[in-house]
């Protein structure tokens, strides 16, 4: 009969001190791989739209004509699919979480700078194969 089998655990807890990670007094525990948020660097983007077409949640919208790239962070699941697929490596994940917001914020919006003339429209693969 185990009348109070947990007594051992309880006493270990009492004498071992709390296991609590005292966030926010202490910083959150992070790992190199931690997928916090998606970061986009517009400089090298080739507007290939793979990120948009292969995004499982369709959080990314790329307009070739207007040369814009925008993401709804309140839709992004930070799966990193776009990061894996991006041929130009302009996307990566940071291990820092996004802050809460009081309102549904506007989407993160980027205008892609005009590339040097020789690169125009180059490197655009047929999406989605």
């Amino acid at each position: 009969m185990g009348l109070i089998t947990i007594a051992k655990t309880i006493s270990r807890n009492v004498f071992g001190g709390p296991a609590t990670r005292r966030y926010p007094a202490e910083p959150a525990k992070r790992y190199d791989l931690t997928r916090g948020r998606l970061v986009f660097e517009p400089e090298n983007c080739r507007l290939c739209r793979i990120c948009m077409l292969r995004c499982p949640t369709q959080a990314i919208v790329v307009e070739r004509k207007e040369r814009t790239w925008e993401i709804d962070h309140f839709r992004c699941i930070t799966c990193g699919n776009c990061v894996d697929l991006c041929p130009a490596n302009v996307l990566h994940l940071e291990p820092v979480y996004r802050e809460p917001e009081a309102d549904r914020p506007a989407k993160e919006f980027h205008r892609i700078p005009e590339p040097p003339p020789e690169n125009a429209d180059a490197g655009c693969e047929t999406p989605g194969v």
Binding site: I4, I6, A7, I10, N13, V14, G16, P18, A19, T20, R22
Partner: protein, 285 residues
């Protein structure tokens, strides 16, 4: 006259002490669970907040019953600390609980109703033990008056060990501690939501909380009586008893009401019969 002053002092100070005890309780519980736990004054924050909330109601009459609960529980405590008749204290305490139960009935809600029924079962389970505690005190000290029991020169605990065991067992239910927290428990996640207090919000709930504090102090007072001959021992003993209750709270699953009722009655019967029979056999000889 002094007696009345004690009573009044209880009415004023008991919430402070009770709230503090509740805070320490939560803190110790958290430590047993490997957590940091809330600030010691958390119970006061909670009640303070409840009184800041909107005054909403489900049935207009609910506050009347809860006020009755609060007033009578304070009254019975005051009577106790004024040195009054222990039986009368117990009856007043029962009356106050009936007010709580009626308050829960009055809101006509599924979970409050089940809570009320369970609270009644709880009262039914504990009532014999509490009455027998006072009988034990009477047999040992010759008086029902708290003042005279407290003034009894010897260690009552040595005369009433069985009664104390039974009382300790029932105290778990009175303090709403696991395994006998069948009606309302301090933790969330119960199948009956929050039992009797399910429908109470804001200040109504705040009053219930304060009443719990009064009750805790009153129960501590009754525990004290067993050790009253030496205040120092009493302080240590009461603290140990309370700690033991917290420990039991953290080492058991919640029992079902059938088991709770049966086991409390059984323990009551065995422990008090074994203990009190001594007085009767002694009295006959």
């Amino acid at each position: 006259m002094i007696a009345w002053l004690y009573g009044i002092a209880f009415v004023i100070l008991a919430p402070l002490l009770g709230g503090l005890v509740a805070g320490i309780d939560r803190r110790v519980t958290a430590r047993m669970q490997g957590r940091v736990g809330p600030p010691i004054l958390q119970s006061f924050y909670d009640v303070g907040k409840l009184f800041e909330k909107e005054r909403a109601y489900v049935r207009a009459s609910q506050n009347f019953y809860i006020l009755g609960y609060l007033i009578f529980i304070a009254f019975s405590g005051a009577l106790f600390f004024a040195g009054g008749d222990l039986l009368l204290v117990i009856f007043a305490l029962t009356l106050s609980h009936i007010f709580l139960v009626i308050g829960a009935y009055s809101v006509t809600s599924p979970y409050a109703l089940i809570g009320a029924e369970r609270e009644l079962i709880q009262l039914m389970a504990v009532e014999p033990m509490i009455i027998l505690v006072s009988v034990g005190f009477y047999l040992a000290s010759g008086s029902f008056y708290v003042s005279e029991i407290a003034a009894y020169g010897g260690p009552l605990i040595l005369l009433l060990p069985g009664v104390f065991i039974g009382f300790f067992y029932a105290l778990t239910m009175k303090l709403r501690k696991s395994p006998f927290d069948i009606a309302t428990c301090h933790h969330a996640h119960q199948e009956i939501v929050k039992g009797v207090t399910t429908e109470f919000s804001g200040s109504t709930l705040g009053m219930v909380e304060i009443a719990h504090w009064y009750e805790a102090v009153l129960l501590i007072g009754i525990t004290w009586l067993f050790f009253a001959w030496n205040p120092l021992v009493a302080v240590v003993a009461v603290a140990l008893v309370y700690l033991a209750e917290i420990f039991i709270d953290n080492t058991t699953a919640r029992a079902k009401w059938g088991f709770a009722l049966g086991s409390i009655w059984l323990v009551t019967l065995v422990s008090t019969v074994a203990n009190l029979a001594v007085f009767y056999i002694g009295g006959m000889a």
